[in-house]
Structures are given as structure tokens and as C-alpha cells.
């Protein structure tokens, strides 16, 4: 049961100090207004506040002030390490900038997106950071926020109308990872991507399109590139015409239905007898699936199969895995994201911008080549 009596209000302090509530309010607010009061009065009020363990009633402050000092973070945490870290950094940056924040994990949210958005509007947040946006968050949800005059900034998300985007340069990272594989002598490089929606839609998803583009760019410098659906994948795809890279789209819904789509694919691949000599995975979690499948099938990493990931998950550091990967400049991204949101908040007419940050290549053992190249 909520015990009202145990909570001190300004009124209690006023009564204890025999001054008016306005006096207490002004002194507690600090700043200009407070300095006008008698030093002695101020001391008494402050002492009483401390003594009575006074804490401002945020709801009352919020109602009175035009500003809530609150920023909402919509995230999809509880899963990928990089996303979790980004959320933590955003919170830190907001605190450092003097804001409070309320974080909504869309994986927790009982009432779904609709309700989360509503909660943020109700809470009168002064801005929203969307971290690692996903498809569940639709344009109309963002519209609701923007329509309510709440600026929105996307961190490592998709491009959205009227929303500034601060993100990692995925294209560059995947190009570098692929180039590294080529430099190591790999000539049958397979990139695994999910098959979400139609081609046009997929390519519109930044995280999807950039992964593919980075791969294609690097492959194209040395040879030819092909794409294929999982059903039609076979090593024949690498034959003739100096085909060095193939981007394969996993069966639709493999990523939703299956627990470990890449693991299962790699097991099938190994069992089928033919296999590429290198795998470009979308992130470290998938790279681990690939490695686990390969080890289980008796292959050696990287002798039989090289693997690259993305994100630099902690587990990839174990020498047994030694995942070659790229690490985003999350600190830079998050700091810029908060600064951008603050700018939009101060100047609502500011147009949406995009700012990208390079990832750092991390070369480990998972993609070395120790066996001699075949002619």
C-alpha cells in the first residue's frame, strides 16, 4: 500500500521552517530565484529538506514545467551484445548531457509497439532514440511521435523519413572483411543472408543492403559475383568465369522459424560434401553457429573453412573461435546520436541528417589460410 504520509512535501518543510511554500519552492529550485533569499532562511530550509528526506514529486514537477527532461530509448536489447552495449552507452551519454531517460525494451513490452509509443507520449518525453531499429517499428509509429512534436533519432537503424540516422558504415566493414579473405587466398567465398521479402524490399533495408553491397564491392575487384537462393545453391555456382563470391539467401523464414539458421545450413552444407572455403556471416552470433557446425562435422577452422563475423562479441576472443570480425565505434555513434537528438529538440525545423562511423577491423585466426592454394 502506498504510504503517502511517509513522503515529505514542500508544504511539510514550509510548516517546519515557518516560511511560505513559495519560499521553500524557490529555495529548493536553486538558481537565480534562490539567491534572493536570506542566507539564514535558505540554510534552514535546506537543512529541513535534508532532515525530512525531501524528494521532489516528479509528476508534479512534470505537470508544472513545460519540460520533462526525459528522453525515451526504444531498443531491442536482450540478445545481441552490440545492441546491449549501445543501449548502455546511450543511457550514459544522456545522463552526461543532463537528461533522464526511460528505456523501453520492445522484447519485453507486453502491449506491443503501439503501447510503448503511447507510454512515451504520455510520459511527455522530449525526444526518442531508436536503437537498432527493427521492422516491428513501422513508419506510422514514428509518425505518432513526430506528430506529437517529439524528435526522433535512429541509432544504427534503417533510414526513415524525417528521422536522423547515426550508424556504422556496414558497407565498408563487409568490404574490408571480404577483401581480407581474398588477400588470404580464399577463392570460394559464400555470404549468407536471410531472405526477407522481395528483392526490392530487402535492398531497402540498410543493414541488409549494405552487407550485400560491401561483399559485392570487394569481390568485384578481383573477379565475379553471383547470387542464389538456398534451394538452388551448389558448388557449381563457383565454377567457370572466375566466380569468387556468392551471396546466398536462406530459405524464407529460416531466420524466424529456425533457432539457428546458419548452424543448420552449415551442417547440411558440410554433409553434402562440397563447401566454400570461406563464409561471410552477418554477425558474430551467426559466425559462431557456422563454426560450431564446422567443428561438429570434423572440419578445422580456418584450414578447412574460414569464417568472418561482425560485432566483436566477447566470446569470439577465445582462441578456439578467434573470430575475425569488425567492431563498431559504438561510443562515437551513441555520443553523436545524443548530440543530434539534442539539436533537433532545440531546433525542430532542422532537417534530418545521416552520419556514419567506420568500424574497426579485428583480424583473428578464423580466416587465415594455411593450406597452399590450388592452381
Amino acid at each position: 500500500m502506498f504510504n503517502r504520509n511517509s513522503i515529505t512535501t514542500q508544504k511539510d518543510i514550509a510548516e517546519a521552517c515557518l516560511v511560505s511554500r513559495a519560499t521553500v519552492g524557490a529555495i529548493l529550485a536553486g538558481g537565480k530565484a534562490a539567491t534572493r533569499y536570506n542566507e539564514e532562511t535558505r540554510r534552514r530550509v535546506l537543512a529541513a529538506a535534508k532532515e525530512l528526506r525531501y524528494r521532489p514529486h516528479r509528476a508534479a514537477q512534470l505537470m508544472r514545467r513545460s519540460q520533462s527532461n526525459l528522453i525515451g530509448i526504444i531498443h531491442f536489447g536482450a540478445g545481441l551484445e552490440a545492441a546491449d552495449k549501445a543501449n548502455m552507452l546511450l543511457a550514459q551519454e544522456l545522463n552526461a548531457a543532463g537528461f533522464d531517460y526511460v528505456a523501453m525494451d520492445m522484447n519485453w513490452q507486453g502491449g506491443g509497439v503501439e503501447r510503448a509509443i503511447e507510454e512515451l507520449v504520455q510520459a511527455r518525453v522530449e525526444g526518442v532514440l531508436i536503437s537498432h531499429i527493427q521492422e516491428v517499428l513501422e513508419d506510422r509509429h514514428i509518425e505518432i511521435l513526430l506528430h506529437a512534436g517529439i524528435p526522433v533519432v535512429s541509432i544504427n537503424g534503417e533510414r526513415r523519413k524525417n528521422v536522423s540516422l547515426i550508424c556504422d558504415n556496414i558497407t565498408k566493414a563487409f568490404s574490408q572483411l571480404t577483401s581480407h579473405l581474398l588477400a588470404q587466398g580464399h577463392r570460394h567465398i559464400l555470404q549468407i543472408l536471410p531472405q526477407v521479402g522481395k528483392e526490392a524490399y530487402r535492398s531497402s533495408l540498410r543493414a541488409w543492403g549494405e552487407r550485400k553491397n560491401g561483399f559485392v564491392t570487394a569481390i568485384s575487384t578481383l573477379g565475379r559475383w553471383k547470387e542464389a537462393a538456398e534451394v538452388s545453391f551448389s558448388m557449381n555456382l563457383f565454377e567457370g568465369e572466375e566466380i569468387l563470391g556468392v551471396t546466398m539467401y536462406q530459405n524464407p523464414r529460416a531466420y524466424e522459424m529456425l533457432k539457428r539458421p546458419v548452424y543448420h545450413f552449415c551442417k547440411r552444407l558440410c554433409a553434402s560434401g562440397f563447401r566454400p572455403d570461406a563464409l561471410v556471416c552477418s554477425n558474430d552470433a551467426y559466425a559462431i553457429e557456422a563454426i560450431m557446425a564446422a567443428l561438429e562435422m570434423g572440419l578445422s577452422i580456418p584450414e578447412d573453412l574460414a569464417v568472418t563475423g561482425y560485432d566483436n562479441d566477447r566470446i569470439g576472443e577465445f582462441p578456439i573461435l578467434g573470430i575475425t570480425t569488425a567492431e563498431q565505434d559504438l561510443k562515437g555513434i551513441c555520443a553523436a546520436g545524443v548530440q543530434t537528438l539534442i539539436k533537433h529538440r532545440e531546433n525542430p525545423s532542422l532537417p534530418a541528417t545521416t552520419q556514419t562511423f567506420d568500424s574497426e577491423l579485428i583480424l583473428r585466426t578464423s580466416c587465415g589460410r594455411t593450406t597452399p592454394l590450388l592452381a
Copy 2:
């Protein structure tokens, strides 16, 4: 900039419908009060509310009502999978019970524990769930909540004065895991625990004490048990008197200073030439460290070294790891935790209780024994 004008209030609806604000308020509140009004009036008000996208101002409701309908969750997420899952389940249970919640991740919290507690008091939460409590949360912090009339329930945490505890039966799980190792024929079983504070303090930590007790209980059914600090550990400890189990305390601060304390220990152990035939690790994350170290040193799991964990992390399912572990009944624990909090909220004089849930043993390949037993 916060745009007040874009937000509809009851006043706006009243003006649009040409009724009083009280009428709008009563109709919007629903329930008994609303039914007294003319059907036609109600319809008009509801339609206008929808049309104008009315959303109640939570701060105003909170200030007016004696109840905030808010429950705080203090957690230490962003790390252990089991803890993350528990937090998600708590949120779901709270929503199902009609409460809103505000989750505070102590790993994010800029201002530290002090501030998090203060925020909860300010937010006038009607109860607090502490998930996977840690030492950073001190008795005095909990006192602040209790003193403010806010009931507190600990989920999978430590025993605290005046705080109900809902938790897994760690003792039983560790006893079962150890018994399983014994049944598989292992006779040199090493349990690795951190060395936090003095013995008396350590044992007072439930998660620590129960792990040890469970191990000791199982070992004692078949032979003798010993304990040792890491500095004095050697295989001699297993010699004579049918010593089957040794609990070893890692060097103080190894868990804080070192990134992967169990990994580093296991590498040293393997390098030293002597090693137990089974390792009981505190959780799956540590079991993975042990396995990674063993694989790296050229050992086979479980032929050369058996390993058990706790928590059933997803990664342990990969056959290469195949971690034998135990999975907590998180669903049961979280549901009971929320129900208990609700009871305390309704009846503040209720004494604190403890409720434990059994974990489910999950036997995988990491602790089989295929080599014959030495005499």
C-alpha cells in the same frame, strides 16, 4: 521542443462536446461513474477523445490518484542470459496483472544505486522487484524503500531482512549435477568458486553458499570433501582418504580483475600437467570458459575433462559444447515473485517469506565418461 499544443486534454474534449470537464473525466475514467451518463453523451465524448487522439496525462493521474500502478524492477541485466530472461518474464507477469513497470538496469545507471532508488521513490512505485540481487545493493538501500512504505521482493537474490525471497533451489541442483558426475565414474571433481570476502561472509551469500553446499552434500554420500585456496591447489589434494571432491576458491578479485577467471585458471591447470577429471562450474558462462581452455590445450570434452554448468544458456546446446547443466523454473519463479509482491502491497503487515523452485537437470555430453575408470 516539447509541443504542448499538439496534445489533447480533457478540457479540449469538453469544449468540443460542449459538456463540462467533469463529465469528460467521468466518462473517460469508465467504470461505475461513466454508466450514469446519457448514452448519447458518452458516445460523443468517446468519439471526440478518439478523434482528437486523447491520451491521459500520466503525471496528472498519478498526482491525483493515491496509486501510481507502477512497479519498479531493479535488475542487473545485460550479461547473463538467465537474468535477462527473468527480467523479461517479470515484465510480462506485471503487465498481465495490470501493472505498469519501470525497469532499472543497475549496469546502465549513471548515478549508481543511490540514484536508482531515489528515482523509484520519486516515481511513487507501489512495489519493487529486485532481480538477481547483487552486493552493490546494500541493506540500507532496501531500507529506504521499505521506509517509504514500498514493499520489496527479491527474485533469485540473497536473503534480506523484511524482504520475501523467491528463488531457485541451487543446493539441490548442484547436488544433482555433482551426483551425476559421480555416477559417471568421476572421482576427482573440482568445484571452482570465487573467493569473495571472509568465509563467514561468503557463506552468507545464498548463491555462493548453496553452490558449495550442494556440491559438498553430493560428494559426502560417496567419499570425502576438501576445500582449498587457489594458491595451494594441487592434485595432491585428491590423494588418500578417498577424496572425491575439492572446492577451490579462486584468488581474491580474480573475478573482478580478470576478464575470464575460469578460462585463465583452466589454462594454467592444463599447463601444469595435473588436472581433475571433472569440473563443476558456477554457471554456463564459466563452463564455457573451462571448455574453451580445455579445447585450446588439446583436451577432449568429456574424455579428458568433464564439465558442468548452470543456467542452460543457449550456446550450451551446440553439440560441440553440449553443456550438462540445470535450468531454473524462471516462469514459476517470476510468476510467484509478482504474486508475492502483490500480496505484500495489499497487506503491508504480511511477514517476509521464502519460496523455492526446483531446477530441471539437463544432461548433455559434457560430462559423460568414455574412458575406463582407473582402479
